[in-house]
Symmetry: C2
Subunit: 451 residues, 2 copies
């Protein structure tokens, strides 16, 4: 078992620098855990208060009358060192440090960070950060973070986990999972990684039973060999890993140095590691979330043969071009499938892949279900892509048709509906069909998940 | 003057196959023109009615008691030939043919199309289509089209024009211009191009005084030399041309044949033509509309130097990487600019490009205006990109800051606001700042408009 289990699955938490104000950095973790009913013990620490947000507070870690698994430090950088010392002296094994002003700013900051690291020498204790946004474990509703991303909505519980160097990108990731209705397990902001590096976090997630999919934002990996082993462990455990890599250019690398004291240009062959370990490298958070949604729904792309149904000839052309240019195959129909499709289509339509339903669909909305179902059932495709646009007048009928479509795990159905009605699209998405607004977004997804 | 002026600027229109039902193909053009107050004469033609949608109707083109500039044929393919003959016999010079079932379906259809073409031999008369959605000229509110895209909202009048082989993609284009609040001049669906090919339409648009920007969806160009001349004419007239090209792969080309009887693989060097004529080739309608909006607002990118202000270090890293990888330059600040920026930034921030404002922005929202304005005024950049994410608690203050920003024509300001409030974003867009949801969308735009 990873020693990080004690950190990320802590059953008791002291928040040092606790605030009565639920919007302050020292108040937010407490407010979240109260609202979400954290399953463990929660103890605010404040030198001047007996009660914080209705909870009994202690004046310092030294006054704790029970052992706690985790201390979350929401104190200024000037106090961090002395608070860690107090925590270690009372046997606390895990720390989260929010404060910035360390290796990411200058040589003096780096020395300050080395002093923190030295406190952990010869101990089994661990420290996440400094300069991080902390972490969340939805299993026990442990929120050791001051992220604002959950102020409006709670997270859904599920198997998707995130770890990365950027707290802000992590926050947008949280917001996107909320809007995409994807269930989350662990969310971890690693910051300057003075003690807990991303490679070790990936190792933890690879064996964490609650985590089924791992997503990463990476600036620098401190131990590339350990990282690759951890990725292979995830692969062996059948967990897809989806990564966004920052600092790929010289200018980007200059920016990571000021951000999390990272040096992505140390000659680590990230592309080689990703390739060997089967990591999916994406170019944006949106693409990361699209991939995550695909896997969260239990979908897999087992081959590269794509069947297309389109109500626009032009869109069918663009889809075919872009799929083919990205290693997917818009293969022709077998003779048998042609003869099965022929009676379902307008007389003036050529029976081929992509299928062009034309505006005749307006008069015969049931064509959509009949033709899509035929392609899914044919066993000639690894996925079926449907393209629709506008169609306000028959949008409800087309939605009803899609809701009757019986998909197969071996043949996911994906939909592009350009200018479609948002309420109807939400219904279709609930039925297990991934929906996109634009052609390149879907092509990128299929290209990312192809084996 | 192009002979197509008489077609696209017709001052009188007869709609053949006119319907009283405003939702039918023969009813929709009349309903649109009535609602929008078409500036010319509108005459419904129906063999069985005296009044159509409140307008006096004629039984056939032969019964017209005045010359008309244009006949729009909303009749089945079986009637097209005889109606064209009637029209030519009473001196009508321009026709639009909606019907499909010609060269796009089979050899027999191709022969039918040749018969239509033959009717125009030795005449000056012109025919748009068949198998097209017609055209729109907002100047006189001439709607010779049955597109459903304007059922909910009218078009805004402006300088952006579209021509292309796909009526459906054209319809989604209309919908997108409506939602992006971009003014439109001409919208033309060329279909099978039996008589009026895209190259000639581009020539018309290149000299049309109302058109300032030309967008195209292209399957096959019938006369590549004429096309290149027309594109160079547009370039000389300072009109950006933005093109989406279908049929770039063998499979895509197979699909275009069934769509508009196009053969994009005839060995025409589209990339060479685009390059020589300075055409911007995009990969999606969304990218086309983003480019159009940039030019519509009078913006230009005069060099490749980009200044970045970000509230997220990670986002600044990704932006830098992707801009640099796409031929743009995230150049360092001059010493003078560094010394001007230093007092505006938090003490712990490194003064460099990209600027990382960090979460300190929450406490000092005015930093956004001060730092952005400094970059715009510095004359060191050809564009300034601002990255923001969420920030619900200070979203109004940040919006107010952006509304005070004084941009310069020589230095456009672009914003990414991930998870931002839609109402506030609309206000910012109205202020002339282009707003994006994701990093790659903005990078693609700047890469497309770079000179």
């Amino acid at each position: 078992m990873s020693t990080l289990s004690l950190l990320f699955e802590a059953n008791s938490v002291a928040v040092v620098g606790a605030s009565d104000n639920p919007h302050k950095i020292g108040g937010r973790p407490i407010a979240y855990m109260k609202r979400l009913n954290y399953q463990g013990q929660l103890i605010p620490i404040n030198p001047k208060a007996d009660v914080i947000q209705g909870l009994t507070a202690k004046r310092s870690l030294l006054e704790l009358d029970m052992p706690v698994d985790l201390a979350v430090l929401a104190v200024p950088d000037t106090l961090v060192k002395s608070v860690i010392k107090e925590g270690l002296s009372v046997g606390i094994k895990n720390f989260v440090i929010f404060a910035s002003g360390y290796a990411e700013i200058n040589q003096q900051g780096l020395e300050k960070q080395h002093q923190l690291q030295a406190l952990f020498d010869g101990t089994e204790a661990r420290m996440l950060g400094p300069n991080c946004l902390g972490f969340i474990n939805t299993g026990t509703q442990l929120v050791a973070s001051f992220t604002t991303a959950m102020e409006q909505h709670p997270l859904k519980i599920g198997g998707l986990s995130f770890a990365g160097h950027s707290g802000a990108l992590g926050a947008y990731w949280l917001d996107k999972t909320i809007h995409a209705d994807i269930g989350v397990s662990k969310w971890i902001s690693s910051g300057n990684e003075a003690n807990v590096p991303l490679d070790e976090i990936v190792e933890y997630l690879a064996t964490d039973p609650q985590t089924t999919i791992i997503t990463l934002y990476i600036e620098e990996i401190r131990h590339p060999d350990k990282f690759e082993s951890a990725l292979l462990l995830a692969k062996n455990n059948n967990k897809p890993v989806i990564a966004l890599k920052g600092g790929k250019t010289a200018v980007g690398a200059r920016a990571t140095a000021a951000h999390t004291a990272s040096n992505p240009h140390k000659g680590v062959d990230y592309e080689g590691i990703f390739k060997r370990a089967g990591v999916i490298e994406v170019q944006s958070l949106t693409d990361m979330i699209n991939c995550s949604q695909f896997y969260t729904q239990g979908l897999r792309l087992l081959g590269n043969k794509i069947g297309i149904i389109s109500i626009s000839g032009g869109a069918g052309v663009l889809l075919s071009d872009q799929l083919e240019a990205n290693g997917l195959s818009v293969t022709g129909f077998s003779d048998q499938l042609c003869s099965e499709m022929d009676p379902l289509l307008p007389s003036f339509t050529t029976v081929q892949n992509p299928v062009d339903l034309t505006a005749a669909l307006v008069a015969r909305p049931q064509m959509l279900l009949e033709t899509s179902q035929q392609l899914v059932n044919s066993a000639e495709f690894d996925a079926v892509v449907i393209f629709m646009g506008l169609m306000d007048s028959v949008a409800q009928q087309l939605t009803d048709a899609l809701l009757q479509l019986k998909s197969k795990p071996t043949c996911p159905v994906l939909l592009i509906w350009m200018g479609g009605n948002k309420t109807l699209i939400a219904q279709i998405a609930q039925h297990g069909i991934l929906v996109f607004e634009e052609i390149p977004d879907l092509v990128t997804l299929l290209s990312n998940v192809k084996t």
